[in-house]
Amino acid sequence: MPMQMPRKSALLFAATALCALALASCGGNDDSGSGTITVYSGRSEELIGPLVSRYEARSGNDVEVRYGDTAELASTILEEDDKSPADVFFSQDAGALGALEKEGLLAQLPADVVDDVDPRYRSRAGRWVATSARARVVAYNRDRVKRSELPRSILDFTDERWKGRIGWAPTNGSFQAFVTALRLLKGEDAARKWLEGIVANDPEVFDDNEPIRDALGKGELDVGFINHYYVAQARAKEGAEYPVEVYFPPGGDPGSLVNVAGIGILESSDQQEEAERFTRFMHSREAQEHFARDVKEYPVAAGVAADRRLVPLERIQQPRLDLSNLDDLRGTLKLIQESGAL
């Protein structure tokens, strides 16, 4: 047996070498046909997969999507710089788009796309644009809390009366975006006081919004700080009997922050036309209705209505904020950790 080793090892070596050669040709970013675009998406395949397929069918072009975490993909693009194979970046939040814009990596979007959208939901320079919006809300179980009991501002939830009745998810990105907004709008001290006050009220800690909603639905919790569409999705499934409602603190309160998911086209892309066509598609009636109807988010294109059961976007008294400025979450995280929330 050992005597055959030399022959066996030579074969093994040859096999490995062949494999290595085969490897090198596997994958790679060759444009397999003109018009193919590459999208880096922080939005899940679940969410936008159907839209991508429809776009491919419609345009006759291929779309290659790399799904991943928004921040990691943004970091990747920052690292790739102008060599990035990506043509389009589909982001879960405005902060990541802001970061890329600051580095000059995003291209100017065509006027018709930009003008279609409320100026609050795009970059000032028109280099990124929202595809849908979502609002922070105070969700509550209507069997356990009367609407009249709810305070005017989210800041008032530090009151003792809410001890043990609140649920939140300090690790969640939307929550952290909210705290950043709080810092920008009310200042560091107010933000710190709020965080510490809620912590003192012994909140129940979850690691995502969905479990908060489920706990509210089961009556295990009285109020929770989540995004609006979770409740809408549940109601659509459970029916009108579903006991959870949403409340938007009025008067430009940070508790009603509206954040967006959006798209930007990379400056380095050599498929600018195709990329623009893709972006336009995401603003088309079809795509916007998908966001509205299936995901229960707020559409941003003019003329497309949100789900009827939602509070209309215009009626939400949003705080005034440039969403691009939500890209510095480092200070937010520090504050959250220092206050003992994490």
Binding site: S75, L78, E79, L342
Partner: protein, 543 residues
């Protein structure tokens, strides 16, 4: 027939002092060149960190000196120490029970106690939270009949410590068990003859001989804990890696993140230095002729029951609980008609990428291991330590390293399978080097000299004598790399060709939108394909 050990071990601390006639010789130039050729690409993350930090050195410096940085580094270090100690504390009695006693069902326990290695720690963490967390299955089960309101919190230090211990102790178990199986029983018999009790013999004779294996396995555990992010974030433990990830996620601050990663590399060198102190200086190989006598098995008698209970508890916590949750969810998911073709193509892709990585890592490990085992020197130690860089860093850092160099230097290879496999090798080479080196140490250099004395050149000796005898270790190293590569996630997300889905990315896709049940079937498939290499690892030594 003598076969070689499986153990992954750690680098050589320094040149051995020369015994008369046994001094370390100068290494053949070809070998040194080969080892350096492997070490240089492995050092790419270091180059990346240096380049990025240089972009704004003062920011990097400030980042390192923030209170939070040092505080979290201490926290992570504390966790690493705690997990390493408890992993060793689990591995020592388990290894003893399955190797040296008459425990019933030893073969089964050997496999069961090593099996937790196939569970990725982030999945394991999630399953443990689902089972033992405040809204978990176990609490639901206990709430009704026992009125248990809340279990002790699974979050924080305690949870992180528990979960990481349960899923990393097999790394120590593997190395210790292999060494224990090869110990010469004469030393213990001598001690017993001098009147030492069983425990005293273990402490003074067996344990010192096991120190290198404990050091080797402990090293892998410690570095793993320092670099892990998935598990600690699910368990809400504020760790050093979290700051690194937060820098990427929250502020897109690559410079700050790179400086923190550099700090982690410094910590890695400290850990490696500590491990070097556990190395022993005499030979591993047997110099006396004849086969080693098998040690006598200790009769447990009535101690059998507590021993079985102990093994069962470990297996229950580390294996049965997580797998049960997975099976439970899988059954629920099956009802929803899972996409089998997607899962099976993901499985094929996982196996392809991991298999290629394992093969290439095994080959690359050989020159490094040969240098370290046969010609120990300062250079050999440096080379071996450098190869640990990828293993000690969070995967996202290694991924970005390759993004950086890929886009600037090797664009045609960027986002190809080749680059992904390369990333795996950078991440996991130490696993292969350790196992190969351990089995090389078991091959006496006298055998190689004997072959030279009958006229065979160095290459022929390597091929006909060293390689066949060390083959077991090389295979074990490849198996370990495969096991680990198949569950890798962060680098895959960033570097794989678009459309190349592995089981890990499938799981991630499902769980990132909250469909945890949908991630259960790919998870089970992942465990199943990890089983054969693990079986290979555990059955190499059956005393």
């Amino acid at each position: 027939m003598a076969t070689a050990a499986t153990v992954p071990t750690a680098p050589v601390a320094e040149a051995l002092p020369p015994a008369p006639g046994r001094a370390p010789r100068r290494a053949p130039r070809g070998l040194v060149v080969g080892a350096i050729a492997v070490a240089v690409p492995m050092a790419l993350p270091l180059a990346y960190l240096a380049v990025v930090v240089a972009q704004d050195a003062s920011l990097a410096w400030d980042t390192i000196w923030r209170d939070q940085t040092l505080r979290l580094l201490l926290r992570s270090s504390a966790l690493a120490v705690a997990v390493t100690l408890s992993a060793v504390a689990l591995a020592l009695p388990l290894s003893w029970l399955v190797t040296r006693t008459d425990l019933p069902g030893r073969r089964v326990w050997t496999v069961l106690t090593t099996l937790p290695l196939v569970i990725p720690s982030y999945i394991g963490a999630y399953l443990m939270v689902s089972a033992l967390g405040p809204h978990g299955l176990v609490q639901d089960l206990l709430a009704e009949p026992f009125g248990v309101e809340r279990l002790p919190s699974i979050y924080g230090f305690f949870g992180a410590w528990l979960v990481l211990t349960l899923f990393t102790y097999p790394l120590v178990l593997l190395t210790v068990r292999a060494t224990l199986a090869r110990l010469d029983p004469q030393l213990e018999e001598a001690a017993r003859g001098m009147g030492r009790s069983g425990w005293s013999t273990y402490r003074t004779v067996v344990l010192p001989q096991l120190m290198p294996a404990i050091g080797a396995g402990g090293l892998l555990v410690a570095l793993y804990v320092l670099s892990d992010f998935g598990a600690v974030s699910i368990l809400r433990f504020d760790s050093f890696t979290r700051v690194i990830y937060a820098s990427y996620r929250a502020s897109f601050d690559r410079i700050g993140a790179a400086s923190l990663a550099a700090l982690l590399v410094a910590a890695m060198f400290v850990v490696l230095w500590l491990e070097g102190r556990t190395r022993r200086r005499f030979a591993y190989y047997r110099t006396a002729p004849g086969a080693a006598r098998r040690p006598q098995h200790v009769r447990l008698g009535p101690w059998r029951w507590p021993a079985l209970a102990f093994c069962a508890t470990v297996a229950l916590l580390a294996l049965v609980v997580p797998v049960s949750v997975l099976v439970y969810w899988s059954l629920q998911s099956v009802a929803g008609d899972p996409n089998w073709s997607e899962i099976s193509s993901a499985a094929v892709d996982s196996v392809t990428a991991a298999g290629l990585a394992a093969a290439i890592a095994a080959v690359c490990a050989i020159p490094v291991a040969m240098l370290a085992a046969r010609y120990p020197s300062r250079l050999a130690a440096v080379i071996e330590r450098v190869t640990f860089t990828g293993y000690a860093l969070p995967h996202i850092v290694v991924a970005l390293t390759l993004v950086f160099f890929g886009t600037r230097v090797a664009l045609p290879l960027y986002q190809t399978l080749a680059m992904l496999v390369f990333a795996f090798v950078v991440l996991l080479l130490p696993l292969a080097v350790g196992a190969t080196r351990a089995s090389l140490l078991q091959v006496s250099p006298r055998l190689e000299e004997a072959a030279r004395s009958v006229g065979r050149g160095p290459l022929a000796v390597l091929r006909t004598i060293t390689a066949p005898l060390a083959a077991g270790g090389v295979a074990a190293g490849a198996a370990l790399v495969f096991l680990t590569a198949v569950k890798e996630l962060p680098a895959t997300l960033v570097l794989a060709p678009i459309g190349f889905e592995t089981l890990s990315t499938e799981i991630w896709t499902a769980t990132s939108v909250g469909f945890y049940e949908r991630g259960a079937i790919p998870s089970l498939v992942l465990l199943v394909i990890s089983a054969p290499p693990l079986y290979l690892l555990t059955t190499r030594h059956q005393p």
